[in-house]
């Protein structure tokens, strides 16, 4: 245990001291009245805790998410009371859905004014209760060390999530005897269950006698750092494995047993084979409705093994025949001991056959188009090739997100950062900013649409001020493409408010002194991408793509995964 230190400081200084003790190097924030004392301390400790000034609080929270997802560390954002707090609500809800550890330090009015409708007062505890793993209001400085220690512990342990600390200005200015001990236990909180060997054996028996076993993996593999164990497990058992959107990059894209992506716009084989396998092993994933389609017709033939850290996810959507509660890494380690070496070449081949069909009907047209207009798919694949599969891809939400998830390639974990559960447009640019600051030596590419980009484009100011070397690729189809696709397919092409009249994105980048280039022709694309990759510092590349392209395959909403369609 860390030895306790003791000294008289004010609450604001104490918060910074805790951040240093917790190993926080970068925070994202925006000052305001209720965090003035805190910002005074931030200035004092800036040599130890680097503060990044964003242009809107939403940018701060998404940047903290991007930072956390790229590094595995707890993301920290600091904002003021009232509107500062409400502006980060979207990011907090997003982090809750995607299990991203965050500590959000939010200013609050002075304690005597609580509940009086004071200037810039909002009920932050009430507002964030349903979208945080934990939240706590601090009204007195001496509460700071314990509350912050708990905040970091809760955010990062078990199934991670966002924590909000609502810190009254009163607590920030009060002086007290500061001493800090990190938290490693809360009696009412069991972050991880101990593995039950009987369950592991039961699962191993099912796996050992299966003819068509199939493994699905999600964010839990990345969170627990189980990438190596996952690979060992599938290699020992010969089981084909598919990733969820948030499981992307937990395995090498080109690994022979990686059969692709699940979900509404996932790959053909991974979807239809769900309903043909005899044992389904789900690791660190939660059967999101975008993965399952109609649950009544989801894998009814299969025995389901669910490896999951959060007991509330067991049987929530899909009933588990064997539930293994615990950490994915440890569960896989143990399971590897009990499973027999095996091969399922014929079964794995069936996925490859499906891929051939999908390649012919969808992929070829997407990444090697013969038509005049550029496609999102060819842009994403070309970028992936130029970075040799060694970059972090951050996406916004919509068609470019699905295309990026389908055609980008990964060699390293924590290389795909996207808003999965909440589907937050505007996530891309600020999250990429945070990812780049967390992994300054890695190439970070943000794929965004013309719609989502305009939701948080003010962060170009942050990118420019700190010269954050992100590469922003705007895939511009002058539409809210995914919504338009649904309107085309399910609303008889009634394009209700999905067409956008866009600004000159290049001039916009230039206004922020960010190098930019616009590509409209195929012959210019490769050169422009190389220029972007080779450029030191931030770069914005706008690619004008086919206006009315659709993302396929597609499992229509509410349909069975077997009913995936390859073309309209």
């Amino acid at each position: 245990m860390t030895p306790a230190i003791q000294q008289k400081v004010n609450g604001a200084d104490a918060i910074l001291k805790v951040l240093i003790k917790e190993g926080v190097e970068t925070v994202f924030g925006y000052p305001g009245g209720a965090v003035l004392p805190l910002y005074d301390a931030i200035m004092k400790y800036h040599h130890k805790v680097h503060h990044v000034l964003v242009r809107h609080e939403q940018g701060a929270v998404h940047a903290a998410q991007g930072y956390s997802r790229a590094t595995g560390k707890v993301g920290v954002c600091i904002v003021t009371s009232g509107p500062g707090a409400t502006n980060i609500i979207t990011g907090i809800a997003d982090a809750m859905m995607d299990s991203t550890p965050l500590v959000c330090v939010i200013g609050q009015v002075v304690a005597p004014l609580l509940g009086t409708d004071a200037f810039q007062e909002a009920d932050v505890i009430g507002l964030t209760m349903p979208i945080t793993k934990w939240n706590y209001q601090i009204t007195s400085a001496d509460e700071i060390p314990e509350a912050m220690a708990k905040a970091f512990y809760i955010a990062r342990s078990g199934r991670p999530g966002p924590v909000v600390l609502d810190v009254s200005k009163t607590a920030q200015i009060q002086e007290f005897d500061f001493h800090y001990e990190r938290c490693n236990k809360i009696r009412s909180y069991v972050p991880v269950q101990n593995l039950r060997v009987d369950k592991i054996k039961e699962a191993a028996d099912l796996i050992n006698s299966a003819n068509k076993p199939y493994l699905l993996f999600g964010n839990g593999v990345i969170i627990s750092g189980a990438e190596k164990e996952l690979q060992q497990f599938v290699e020992k058992t010969g089981i084909p494995a598919a990733w969820t959107l948030l499981g992307l990059s937990a395995m090498d894209t080109d690994h022979p047993l990686n059969v692709g992506m699940l979900g509404m716009h996932g790959n053909y084989g991974p979807n239809i084979k769900t309903n043909e396998c005899d044992v389904l092993i789900a690791v660190g994933m939660r059967f999101d409705d975008r993965v399952t389609g109609d649950v009544k017709t989801y894998a009814p033939q299969a025995k389901v093994i669910h490896i999951e850290v959060d007991p509330a996810e067991i049987d929530k959507i899909i009933k588990a025949d064997v539930a293994i509660l615990g950490d994915a890494k440890k569960a896989l380690q143990k399971l590897i001991e009990f499973v027999k070496p095996n091969k399922h070449d014929e079964w794995v081949n069936e996925f490859k056959e499906c891929y051939k069909i999908e390649h012919k009907k969808v992929i070829k047209k997407d990444i090697y188009p013969t038509k005049k207009e550029l496609t999102m798919g060819e842009v994403v694949r070309l970028v992936a090739e130029k970075v040799n599969g060694d970059a972090i891809a951050v996406t916004d939400v919509g068609q470019q997100q699905m295309i990026a998830s389908r055609y980008f390639k990964f060699k390293q974990s924590r290389s795909f950062i996207s808003s999965g559960g909440l589907g937050t447009m505007g996530f891309g640019v600020p999250a990429a900013m945070g990812a780049k600051l967390g992994q300054p030596n890695r190439q970070v590419i943000a794929f965004v649409g013309d719609g989502g980009f305009q939701m948080t484009l003010q962060e170009l100011g942050t990118i420019s001020q700190y010269q954050i070397g992100v590469k922003i690729v705007i895939l511009n189809n002058n539409y809210l493409g995914m919504v338009r696709q649904w309107q085309q397919l399910f609303f008889d092409k009634r394009y209700s408010f999905t067409h956008l009249q866009n600004p000159d994105f290049i001039k916009l980048a230039e206004a922020y002194s960010i190098n930019a280039r616009k590509v409209t022709k195929r012959e210019d694309l490769a050169g422009a991408i190389s220029e972007m990759i080779d450029h030191q510092g931030p770069y914005l590349l706008e690619v004008v793509v086919e206006k009315e392209d659709n993302v396929f395959p597609m499992v229509p909403a509410g349909a069975s995964v077997s009913k995936i369609i390859l073309e309209p």
């Binding site: 505890i125 793993k133 809760i154 809360i186 009696r187 069991v190 959060d310 067991i314």
Partner: protein
């Protein structure tokens, strides 16, 4: 099929926890029929008793969500048959009605109720029992004009022998110590 379930939770006695628990029901549009919160046998630990009418599937999922809350020690649910439970009701009637005949007095005897306070104006009667019983007495007394009526939420204990809270906390300590 909907049926009545009793959800019990032991929690830390922290500000906001009631809200944290009730929004789990609100989000899923489940009505809380009755709710009782008070200190358990151990200081600092609260006991929630929540009655809902829903399917077992929904109730079991809600209980898991309650159990997931950081400040909840343990949550579980039972059917009515698995628990012994009571509610308490207070009735205020005009004292004149009590004195003008022996009917109220005989109702008090019949229903195993008792008189808490008598003044020249009013008399307060108390009865513990199941909701149907306290309701029945209300209807009988209301012939004489019930001035005020208040019924509590449910208090309940299980029929099956379950772990004592202090033993549970000891086990929890062991569990937490075993987690790396």
């Amino acid at each position: 099929m909907n049926q009545e379930f009793i959800i019990s939770a032991f929690t830390e006695n922290h500000i906001g926890l009631l809200n944290r628990i009730t929004i789990i029901f609100t989000r899923r549009k489940i009505n809380i029929e009755s709710l009782t919160v008070s200190e358990s046998a151990l200081a600092g630990i609260s006991k929630f008793t929540i009655v809902v009418n829903d399917t077992q599937d929904k109730v079991s999922k809600v209980v898991k969500q309650i159990d997931k809350l950081v400040e909840v020690l343990k949550a579980y649910y039972h059917t009515n048959e698995e628990m012994i439970y009571q509610e308490i009701a207070l009735y205020k009637v005009p004292t004149e009605a009590l004195t003008s005949s022996n009917q109220i007095e005989s109702l008090v005897r019949q229903y195993n109720a008792r008189i808490l306070e008598v003044t020249s104006d009013y008399t307060v009667i108390e009865k513990t029992g199941k909701k149907e019983e306290t309701q029945e007495l209300f209807e009988r007394l209301n012939q004489f004009g019930v001035l005020q009526f208040n019924r509590s939420g449910r208090v309940a204990i299980t029929r099956s022998p379950i772990e004592r809270l202090s033993a549970f906390l000891k086990d929890r300590d062991k569990l937490l110590a075993s987690i790396e």
